[in-house]
């Protein structure tokens, strides 16, 4: 009897001590992280790599005092090394939350404007809406000297953020199409024009996937027809509707990231951001079967921008991170990982050859032919007409 009690007591003691250990682990998590490689501002300044500049002391101290940094971005896209390196260097714990798509992320802010994120990687549409609702913090340009130095001049006061007050560009995606060369001959005379995507079903045999994003699909259809993808002209949009209705029987599915189907060879042509298919191609085998097609008359340009929502608790950490990201070595890590276009002027020599082929179109000056989605497309009558086309397409 006594032995049994002792046994129960011993078990209870183990259980309680285990629980205490668990709680201690959970609650001391932040402070364990608060010991980064860089402990003081002087140490930080001394450790800055050549060609880079530190953030001002005020920014550094505020960021460190905040202890945590809440990020809201895509899952499994940017190299993890970047986040880990930041945590390790500054001892600031990154709390990451991911979204499945940017519309859903915007809906989150629409429903709960004070969502506490310090950093949000987003698109021009969200920047426009968030600005309109007064939900964005202004960027303090004095706190991001590396961005000031390395970001190309034409990316600083661009159409998506006139005045360059609320966002900082990270990557530039070309939203065109990709073919799988195991099934499609890239020497088809219609490739790489939009004509192949919109009329080449005799070749791709209905194995086409279009993005499940209204504005992008309709925008590229307008581009195929030779119009601006921000058009609000009812006649031009009617033509786009007809082209899409004609194409629909040949569209296998609407999916913005058909990874499994593309890798399995179920899909032969996919409309989307071309750079993503370099990373996917690497997973399919030693020879990348995907070929990026940049239509000669241009395509949709998708800038990914960092903004600071008003509900954030540590905006200084966002500045510190941006400054860290724009160090050439770190930015090259990013671009070598995602193969996207960008506006960084100091990383050319650090980029791998295969990535160079995928990150920008081969044609010089191609970017000027491309367009970014702007408010006429996603607000007012432009939005209504696009929604009507989209709803008809899904009937």
């Amino acid at each position: 009897m006594f032995g049994q009690r002792a046994h129960i007591r011993a078990r209870a003691a183990w259980f309680v001590s285990g629980l205490i250990f668990l709680l201690a682990f959970v609650f001391t998590g932040n402070s364990a992280f608060a010991t980064g490689k860089v402990k003081t501002y002087e140490q930080y300044v001394a450790s800055i790599p050549e060609g880079c500049q530190p953030v001002p002391q005020e920014c550094f101290e505020k960021a460190i005092a905040g202890k945590t940094f809440a990020m809201y971005d895509w899952a499994a896209w940017w190299p993890e090394k970047l986040y880990k390196g930041f945590e390790k260097e500054f001892g600031i714990k990154i709390i990451r939350d991911n979204y499945p798509n940017l519309d859903e992320a915007l809906a989150k802010f629409r429903l709960n404007p004070k969502t506490p994120y310090d950093y949000w990687l987003t698109n021009p549409k969200s920047v426009w809406y968030m600005k309109k609702w007064g939900l964005l913090e202004r960027i303090n340009h004095d706190w991001i000297p590396n961005v000031n130095r390395y970001l190309a001049k034409d990316m600083k006061n661009a159409s998506w953020d006139p005045g360059y007050n609320y966002s900082v560009l990270t990557t530039l995606g070309y939203d065109a199409y990709v073919i799988n060369t195991n099934f499609i001959n890239k020497n088809d005379p219609r490739i790489p024009s939009w004509k192949f995507l919109f009329e080449g079903w005799d070749v791709y045999k209905d194995r086409l996937v279009m993005r499940n994003e209204m504005n992008r699909v309709i925008g590229n259809t307008l581009k195929y027809l030779g119009y601006s993808l921000n058009s609000t002209n009812p006649k031009e949009l009617k033509e786009a509707e007809k082209a899409l209705v004609r194409l629909k029987p040949h569209i296998m599915a609407f999916n913005s990231w058909p990874k499994r189907a593309v890798m399995a060879g179920e899909v032969w042509v996919v409309e989307g951001i071309v750079h993503d298919y370099l990373t996917l191609g690497k997973l399919t085998g030693p020879k990348n079967p995907f070929y990026p097609c940049y239509p000669p008359n241009g395509c949709l340009l998708s800038p990914m921008l960092v903004v600071m929502p008003k509900g954030g608790n540590n905006p200084a950490a966002c500045h510190l991170f941006l400054n860290y990201l724009y160090r050439p070595n770190n930015f090259a890590t990013l671009i070598n990982g995602v193969a996207y276009g960008n506006g960084h002027t100091g990383i050319k020599r650090l980029i791998k050859e295969e990535v160079k082929k995928w990150m920008t179109p081969p044609e010089e000056g191609y970017r000027e032919k491309c367009e970014v989605l702007l408010p006429p497309a996603f607000t007012g009558e432009g939005e209504k007409m696009r929604a009507a086309i989209w709803e008809k397409l899904k009937k």
């Binding site: 809906a107 609702w133 994003e213 296998m252 999916n255 929604a387 009507a388 899904k394």
Partner: protein, 294 residues
């Protein structure tokens, strides 16, 4: 005397409080309150940038019900798909439940376990499993191609038929279980009596077994019809988002267009349609048999 009676009544009521209380609070907080919020928002006006304006309006309902749009069609399509799913589940599920109940013997539990076990996995995992099964490359197409029955793969995925197939696959267990329960509840003496009175097996099934399992059929119908009607993941993943159901339309309003009030109105219309249909089911199925199955 009267005072002590009242005291007794209160005491009796309080006895149930620890058991009924928490679940009542749960239902009020997580069922009624959200529905009330949705109904409230559905009667607010939509702002120019999609936000909600604090102004009473029935414009959303007018637009959805009587406007020139594809919305009514999406709701009707959802009802049609849910109906077809329901019927298919019934025609597959009833024989299944009947066989398990009548011939399952000591393996009844095992068979029921096999019916239930797919539901233990995540909903999305089941959808992807089906994609692997009927897609190309996929088990079914590879098999048919290898035995030479077909010369090119069949396109099953990303069609309206695939959506219905997906819905049947997901919701079938919810039809089998209530029917099985009602079959198990039939008094064997009634079946024997019908045979003694000269009924053939077919006549016995039609006049005794089937009426006595009415509750199970209607229970299963409710359990499959309602979720099938509001489903949006199956059309998205198995239907390739080529054809919308009502759930996809709600998502389109809320996420893509950011029209919260409009999405709420659509949700209220869909809920109202479901409530009406349940009412009809109960009236048709008989409240008594429904209570029995519940």
């Amino acid at each position: 005397m009267a005072a002590s009676k009242t005291g007794m009544k209160i005491k009796t009521k309080l006895r149930f409080l620890p058991t009924v209380g928490p679940i009542s609070i749960w239902i009020v907080l997580f069922v009624f309150a959200p529905v009330a919020v949705i109904v409230f928002i559905s009667f607010l006006a939509t702002g120019p940038a999609g936000g909600i304006l604090p102004k009473f309006s029935v414009e959303n309902y007018r637009f959805l019900l009587f406007g020139e749009s594809e919305y009514g069609r999406a709701v009707l399509r959802s009802i049609l798909y849910a109906f077809v799913t329901n019927m298919a589940c019934l025609f597959v599920g009833f024989p299944m439940a009947y066989w398990i109940s009548k011939y399952g013997g000591k393996f009844k539990a095992l068979f029921l376990f096999l019916v239930i076990v797919p539901s233990w996995s995540c909903y999305i995992v089941r959808i992807y499993a089906l994609k692997q099964l009927v897609g190309y490359p996929g088990i079914l197409n590879d098999f048919l191609l290898s035995i030479g029955l077909i010369s090119s793969p069949i396109n099953i995925l990303y069609t309206p038929a695939a959506v219905v197939l997906g819905l049947i696959y997901i919701w079938l267990p919810f039809m089998v279980l209530p029917i099985f329960a009602s079959l198990e509840g039939i008094n064997p003496a009634l079946l024997e009596a019908s045979l003694d009175l000269g009924a053939t097996p077919r006549w016995q099934f039609l006049t005794v077994t089937l009426p006595l399992t009415k509750g199970g059929i209607f229970g299963g119908t409710i359990l499959t019809f309602i979720p099938a009607l509001g489903d949006w993941l199956v059309p998205l993943l198995i239907g390739g988002n080529r054809v919308w159901m009502a759930g996809n339309l709600i998502e389109h309003f809320l996420v893509v267009r950011g029209k919260i009030a409009m999405a709420s109105s659509m949700a209220v219309i869909l809920t109202a349609a479901v409530v009406l249909l349940i009412y009809m089911f109960i009236k048709l199925g008989g409240e008594e048999s429904m209570e029995r199955i519940v």
